[in-house]
Symmetry: C2
Subunit: 552 residues, 2 copies
């Protein structure tokens, strides 16, 4: 009989996952960190064999009853489970009974796993994991291929309780939902293949005010849907509206065409800087998950009025929800919403866009129709738009309610109250240095260093100034801005900038260049990442820093 | 004949003024600071006697021709000019000829001063100083009594070239423009007597959501005007309007009464923290130049529509200008403007307010009518309102064009391009700790320190979180907010907050408590003052810090 051990509350996601990973019956992990973090762990269901298979190097394991410590020599990283461990066999019908939150079993290939303890730690949310309860996770992992790495596979092995009887293996029966993905430009920096997430190389960002469409960052949450434009219909319904359906031709012919310039940015842009401070799950974006384009389409306001919305009447509608045609295996589609006033104010420029930079939208950017909600974070600019709903409530989608929110640095993934923070709408003021790039060798002979970058702020706030320093903020050079838009309240486009920054006299060969932007509400960027670090790694807008080597 | 010396370009206002102050014929000041700042000064017109009268302690003076240094023992501070120095006499008619920018003479009491060199350094602007060119500054200093201190008097003596012939002395002929000021609450912390500028003590700020009217900070630019409410008229005119005049009774009877809660904050709030880093001219506000009240009056939108403005038509008007009845000797009144869209959007709450906290406005707060432009910096909320003008251009007043703007830390007062920054409208996100106060002695026995404060952001952005740290930002406690307004886009009121912050285990008796707020655009405060320091000392929103002593 084991001692009673306690559920751990470790600091951050990696700690919890690593710990869960190596815990086995008869052993507890002695966690690193501050004394008050040294919890012992309620034992999971894995075997020591699985621990050794996890490939995490060496860790101190404590046998609770004796407090005897031994150093467990773990196999090297990357060495994953190859053969079935000597464990009980379970049949599909036994496993299917474990489909409630108090006992969640899943299968993956020939393994059976009790993931009850992991349920609330699942980065995608407990409800997502429950979709697979009592059955195979193989088709889900085919859809969400961010699971397909050794670390996560090892984590799963930590929960192994048995083998699937009769050699059943679901993995062969799963079709690849990503078989219809479009071709992409080879210069894109791919951060995740399936779903496809890729960013623009920094040095290509600042060469043009408008980012070329095929170099524009792509942030997909699901496979790209196959859509026949001739059969495409957009359904519009909800509070204060009569339900209507519009074809692509209707959109193009019944409404006035509008063109706007607008920047889109992923909320996770610049996440890597946060990840360098402390581990975060999420796409490893450098600074290139942002782009600026010219978008053409119809004004959402015109379409809502066509469907009967009367701006003069105080309707009950507070939000406009958008649904995409990209959906998972259960038919749950990507969804998001914006506050209705963003669509209705005089001069509101929210578009149902069918063109990007003068050409039809590409598959990756939402063909045939997407939302362009300028000044609002990328995640609400729903692609492959299928449905618009005016409503009292905001979108109840996972991405609106349990993602794309930021919290205090000490708020942890496994204890967060998602309702305590609002869904990101207007992103904060930010900027980044695109040239020179990190670790570049730069000639100091001219006495100055040419520096280029972008700056952007949400909500239509214009960038009024960018300051650049090469001496740790002791002195600042004011950058030349690509546009002077200081008095505009609808500045939807980023501002490109350049500065010639004096080489500091006392440099030791290596210097850090820093930039920070100020918008027309005089908001500016915080000095350091630490104060804005959050476990989702979103909205990092700390001063951007690159290290360069100076050469004579 | 003196050596040729160069015009100084010192770093910041105090350096230039101190230097000008002690420079005399035959002497140049050796300034402190970095070698590249050690300029020698073009000699002003004062005598060494004036230098000694300046009362600045001891300074090293350099006689240029010999490079001989001597330590000039200056009289102690406060010892100002008592008797006429042995200088030439000038008659009023001679002085009057020096009224152009290439030669500006003024008189003060019995002194004659050549202030040509100082013109561009004048903190109130060259044009203001030119109003007195060729004549007496005594009546101006009676109006702008911020000049009435030993430092500025000594600065003036540095420019003395002679005495006023015939013993003429304007000072006796000047009536005090401040003879009609109202009584004020004794608890107000007076930062300047004339014009009256006073703030609320921090410990009284957070006791109530609504700041009592008589404890609400007062920021006057000029004497409080005497206004007969029965004779009061408000004139409304400009682009797209027919000119109308409304009495106080008209306002109260012809329009719907509205009540809103809104916070006002002076752009200079928390200037002292910037002043501690580097000297800044301006009222020495701590964190109490902010307050929250309930305001009642009529909606500006209703009044503009009554005057014929049609929101449906794209008028030429881009701004709404406001003029106050407070004016200087030339009849130049206080003025400011806001972008017209702030007054016209659906739900715009800009009021012509006649009540504060349920009672008629007090004299200090703009009786009988003032502007309340919620979400916009205090300076645009014009008091003693006399005139509203819709216009293509923003207000051309000094306060809109050459004040209430912020620049890069290295931008200097005497070389600034005022047009390079926009007039402050929406202020940035900020917060401050009100309790405990700086240097307070706090018991650490409970293990936590109770901390209270306010947080506010402009533009209707709600505060969604306040983080508090007692360990230099290594860990953060999330404060409890007075209101959860995270999804509102018209959050005009501040958010009060409180937190119980753990006492750091390794404290040495003295700790720093830090707070920072985040608004619903996820903008937050910069870590340090240095990056947002500006020569006007406005919009300091760095993390707020108080030092406390811990006792067992």
């Amino acid at each position: 009989m084991l001692s009673r051990l306690y559920r751990a509350l470790p600091n951050g996601t990696r700690a919890s996952q690593n710990a869960a990973l190596i815990v086995s019956r008869g052993y507890a992990i002695q966690t690193a960190g501050k004394p008050d973090r040294q919890h012992q762990w309620q034992l999971a269901v894995s075997t020591l064999a699985a621990v050794f298979a996890a490939g995490l190097g060496s860790l101190v394991l404590v046998q609770p009853e004796t407090s005897h410590c031994e150093e467990a020599k773990l196999a090297s990283a990357g060495q994953t489970q190859k053969s079935k461990p000597p464990l009980p066999e379970f049949h599909q019908e036994d496993i299917a009974k474990h489909n409630r939150k108090d006992s969640v079993w899943v299968t993956y290939k020939d393994g059976v796993y009790d993931v009850t303890e992991f349920l609330e730690m699942h980065p995608g949310g407990a409800s997502r994991l429950m979709l697979a309860a009592g059955g195979a996770i193989d088709p889900f992992w085919a859809m969400y291929q961010q699971h397909q790495n050794d670390e996560i596979k090892s984590l799963l092995e930590g929960y192994r309780i048995g083998n699937l009887a009769g050699g059943q293996d679901m993995s062969q029966q799963v079709a690849d939902p990503y078989s219809n993905e479009p071709k992409r430009h080879p210069a894109l920096l791919v951060r995740q293949a399936k779903p496809f997430n890729a960013e623009t190389p920094a040095e290509l960002l600042t060469s043009k005010l408008y980012t070329p469409s095929d170099l524009f960052y792509v942030r997909n949450h699901l496979p790209v849907p196959l859509i026949d434009p001739a059969a495409y219909t957009l359904r519009i319904e909800g509070e204060g509206l009569r339900t209507i359906e519009l074809s692509l031709k209707d959109l193009k012919t019944k409404f006035k065409r509008h063109t706007i310039s607008a920047t889109l940015q992923c909320a996770g842009n610049r996440r890597t800087e946060m990840q360098q401070l402390k581990d975060i799950k999420g796409t490893t974006w450098a600074a290139g998950a942002i782009g600026n384009a010219e978008w053409s389409g119809v004004n959402l306001k015109d379409v809502l009025e066509f469907a009967g919305l009367d701006d003069k009447i105080d309707t009950e509608a507070q939000h406009v929800q958008f649904e995409g045609l990209d959906s998972d295996m259960e038919g749950v589609c990507y969804g998001a919403s914006i506050p209705i006033e963003k669509a209705l104010f005089k001069g509101a420029d929210v578009l149902l866009a069918y063109e990007m930079n003068g050409r039809p939208l590409s598959k990756d950017h939402g063909f045939p129709v997407r939302v362009i909600a300028p000044g609002i974070v990328g995640a609400r600019n729903v692609k492959w738009l299928s449905r618009i709903i005016t409503s009292k409530e905001e979108s109840q989608s996972h991405w609106q309610q349990q993602d794309y929110k930021a919290f205090s640095p000490d708020t942890e993934a496994d204890s967060v109250n998602w309702d305590s923070a609002p869904a990101i709408q207007e992103p904060n003021v930010t900027s980044a240095i695109c040239e020179p790039c990190n670790d570049a060798a730069i000639s100091s002979s001219g006495g100055t260093i040419p520096v280029k970058g972008f700056a952007y702020s949400g909500g239509g706030h214009a960038i009024i100034r960018v300051d650049v320093s090469a001496d740790q903020g002791k002195s600042w050079s004011v950058a030349e801005l690509s546009s002077v838009a200081s008095r505009r309240s609808r500045a939807w486009s980023w501002t490109l900038w350049q500065a010639d920054v004096p080489v500091p006299k006392d440099h030791q060969g290596s210097i850090e260049i820093i930039c920070k932007a100020t918008d027309n509400a005089y908001n500016t960027q915080p000095d350091n990442v630490a104060g804005v670090w959050n476990f989702r790694g979103v909205l990092n807008n700390a001063w951007h820093r690159v290290q360069v080597q100076l050469e004579e």
